[in-house]
Symmetry: C2
Subunit: 214 residues, 2 copies
Amino acid sequence: MEHRGISRAVISRLPRYYRYLGDLLEEGVERISSNDLSKKMHVTASQIRQDLNNFGGFGQQGYGYNVKYLYTEIGKILGLDKNHNFIIIGAGNLGQALANYASFERSGFILKSLFDVNPRMEGVAIRGIPIRMMDELEEFLQQNEIEIAALTLPKSKAIEVADMLVANGIKAIWNFAHTDLNLPKDVIVESVHLSDSLMTLSYNISRRNEGNKK
Amino acid sequence: MEHRGISRAVISRLPRYYRYLGDLLEEGVERISSNDLSKKMHVTASQIRQDLNNFGGFGQQGYGYNVKYLYTEIGKILGLDKNHNFIIIGAGNLGQALANYASFERSGFILKSLFDVNPRMEGVAIRGIPIRMMDELEEFLQQNEIEIAALTLPKSKAIEVADMLVANGIKAIWNFAHTDLNLPKDVIVESVHLSDSLMTLSYNISRRNEGNKK
DNA sequence: TAGATTGTTAATCGATTAACAATC
DNA sequence: TAGATTGTTAATCGATTAACAATC
């Protein structure tokens, strides 16, 4: 499959399509037209067809899209047909919360270990997955094929840990620290800035309240 | 302050400006030009000036922007000059993780209570904030001024709980459930779909690996 | 075949970048 | 005053929507 230069906007919509198609599949729906799907998702049918056609023609004129087929194909595009081993750095509340999400595993994301600096965490396991100490990390990375590291640690530590991970071959970081990571451009960084999200919410509240005051 | 019709793209960048300005402030930097800030943030100076001028002229020709002033003003735009009471529905790992983020409080987001269905949680407190049972929720909402509800519960429960919250006057929802919420349009919903984020990361890994294979 | 719906081109809309006059 | 840098207009670029011929 060859699809370079697809816009970020399109990519960011794929997981949502995947989610809706998964729901339809569960409901036993066999086929759906871009028009019907557009109504469910509150987007235009045109956008759905444009988005999908970046990756190939998955539909059929006069019929629509086969739900199961499209679901599988989007899964492949998203790389969900392969397993991805990952580790979590920082076994605090958020790290443990991620470790407990069994649903990631169903999508092929396999948690291999957590790491922390707190000695009281040593040997503790979450869903059978052990928490190791940070000083074991380098060796662990050398002996295991790890693709993704989730960073759930304070901002102050995140930058140095990220550098260390990259030095040890990690090529993808899922960053929850409240800071940007400036890493070599072949390293993929996906950040979840929870406080940014909360501030956006707050902005919208303030704006609405202004409107009401009139 | 009057600023309707500002694009979503601009809004989503404000928290990032705020973060960088906060860092500069801590470093003791007094003023910064759009050009210098653009280099730090890896965006164009033009975009910074355009973004800010949606809300007013915060800079001065020949001088640049006063860091402290701009930081404060963006804070006001984001509604961080006021307190926002919130509750967390679902005191599982993620709910507890959010409850433990003291940094939200520093931005004016005050956690008033958590709620859960699990009777073993009853009376447990996080940072002194009690977990209450779901059947106390309606009364609690009537007796307290709550602006925001964070939903950290399974998809299956999220939709009905959201409806109930709205029926009891909640006007802003921070949604962590893996589902979209279709609520009246005066209700603000900000969703954090962790699995979507992970899939985006996975897409980028797959695309890069394809490139390497050649 | 007739009807439905895609894939795709063209038109529109919006967001980003460039340029520069205004001005501190 | 001269230099720097904003605020803002104009130009470009990209993304979304509309339209429709192709085709199942």
